[in-house]
Subunit: 152 residues, 6 copies
């Protein structure tokens, strides 16, 4: 298939930035998460943790590309109540990917084709499946199974 964006299996480095939060509300953390994604984080996720003095805090983790560390440390200090940010680098193996498109009930669904040695995986793009599921008013799984059925 003709790819939209093709990548070879990469071996790169990713920054892992983290901070524990016990003095910010869930509302504030939800807002920060969305601002950090807008600010260019590769990913943002939140882990519930139990902190000192019986506090149900969270660990906020941001993944950042090699050149984005300083910018995202600043963004974490800006949008959260953290006074400090810890960070380190991790190596990363990423599967080779290309894209192709199929049609499901008249709607285009992009497929991500990922390859690593003899492992091949085809994943319908979430956003396209979501659009179709909303239009058809069905579960996301109905669309995904329907798309899978065409791939055999």
């Amino acid at each position: 298939a003709q790819s939209q964006k093709e990548t070879v299996a990469t071996q790169d480095q990713v920054w892992v930035l983290e901070t524990n939060l016990d003095d910010q509300t869930a509302e504030g953390i939800g807002f920060a998460q969305s601002q950090l994604l807008t600010a260019g984080a590769l990913d943002v996720y939140v882990t519930p943790v139990q902190m000192k003095k019986a506090r149900p805090g969270v660990l906020l983790t941001v993944l950042a590309a090699e050149n984005d560390r300083e910018r995202l440390v600043t963004a974490m200090l800006k949008y959260t109540t953290a006074k400090g940010i810890r960070y380190t680098q991790m190596a990363r193996t990423v599967m080779k990917r290309h894209f192709t498109t199929v049609s499901y009930k008249g709607m285009p669904i992009r497929l991500k084709v990922a390859t690593y040695h003899d492992i091949h995986r085809v994943t319908p793009e979430y956003e396209d499946c979501q659009t179709a599921a909303q239009k058809l008013d069905v579960a996301l799984e109905t669309v995904m199974a329907g798309v899978q059925a065409q791939l055999s």
Copy 2:
């Protein structure tokens, strides 16, 4: 202040609907959560649980108004992979509320004033604070603290 929507302290009943999910992806559950809110759930939340055979499943809980139980049971079966839904009623004590509005840096911020006996609580509306925080490009807490400062 003149209220937008005023409620007395209520004593009502709320339906609690729940189901454990071990065969739906996080993507699918996120989609279902948003569809269930659209379908009229009072609230939807997800609790991580450990199910049999070492499965990191979730408990999906939906709160529904007295007349919405059957409709939301059907919506849960429609948008999730659940084969069954458990439900019960809980009594609920809800504080009396009215609304008022203040201005923060030229932007209107609604305040929810909640009362129960001698307990009084004033909460700036999230959506208004979010709008202001995005416009000013600051943390949500900066707006909320600024609004609180006006209330003294």
Copy 3:
């Protein structure tokens, strides 16, 4: 298809039994979970909770059929360190189900067909997919997608 075990959409009652544990190890709780399933629990799941004195405890929940409550309360007291068990009944709506079988790469895979009004869902049985995935040495998803592809 000819069903193996066919059920109509039921409206039944299920017992929810629960206890908080802060003085049993994860090893002991894992053992208890397996004993409780053997003892006839409909389901057993564990929720991480934060208890008093900064203790990372768990809430153990057991679902039991209408006539099994007393037997499973006793089993919970026997296999866990709990000194007390709380319980209540919840109503339950369960989809109508029947079973059929397909073949995947020469292996039989049972399908659970669940129906509720106009909602239809077909789910390959986990145990059969697991057997096939182990034999073929692939991800569970590979088998499930392969089975889905035959259903279109």
Copy 4:
């Protein structure tokens, strides 16, 4: 042994009070938890949940004796940011208990002896073991295992 406080196996009712919190900090929730225990809650625990708009909220649960419901609903509204509290009653089976005391390295350790039909369980009291562990500067497990060794 001569019991300090002896109870027969009881069949009672306990109130379960709950509220979801997304606009209170972990610090504030930790403070509320301690105030609610002081206010007479039988138990207080906190469950991490994922609420709407990607908020890492918590479910706060309070267990209360039959006559304490109204008082603890009020306390929850007072010490948390909740605008409403849900509650229901659950039946409870509690093992028969009596107390006895042993000595460990010269320090008194109370033992809770719990009985239900043919299930017997002897548990060293946490507070006494904690005092001993702090004095001896060892893990809690060292004291508990030492006490268990005397019971054979």
Copy 5:
């Protein structure tokens, strides 16, 4: 304001020590957490994880200053049931801080003023707010909002 303890924005290194626990009770882990803080850990937190054989274990994480690694590895082995401890160093960016004091209803409340480039954050000290909240018998949020109101 005259600072009590003033720090410049630092770029330092912090040790992250961790171990998974599946054979210690929540009581024992709570005790260990408090001993580790006393032993000089910068922070201690507990993450619920699902371990092999359906065990609801925890990941215990200790943050330690550059010279405290060996001492805290030993303390973790002493107060927990762990047989091994993993550790690595992370870089850390910490905001510049100084302290000042305000008065709230006659009680002194220290304020932590944190600065990083053009980000400024003022946080009332938890311990002082807790003391005030207990004395006035109000939620922690009432004190914190009252203090914020003075800062405008």
Copy 6:
């Protein structure tokens, strides 16, 4: 005692491999966890996390010996839906261990004796205690306490 497998207190390196999963079911993750243990992982554990778009995902972590990194990265890509794996090395301090055996009600129970400087810990092997608990139909704790009682 004569040891079965004796190790000195080691200072080694362990690989930490991780990936966030939001498009695999709990069933599929449970299956992957078991395959990864079979494939030679030192340990596998799953942490519930909150990912973008309100998704209740998990962080899958695999610990691997120094020479097993590439093999286990491949296994993670094979058995999960991950498109990329992050990894780093952590140093590890492991207590010196040897084994001995006691008898409990006629059944052999291996004991792991772990030593680090002046810290000594004796742990009955889980598998042996599990076998005994199943045979005697008691809680795991009953066996473990019985074994502890012999060690005094």
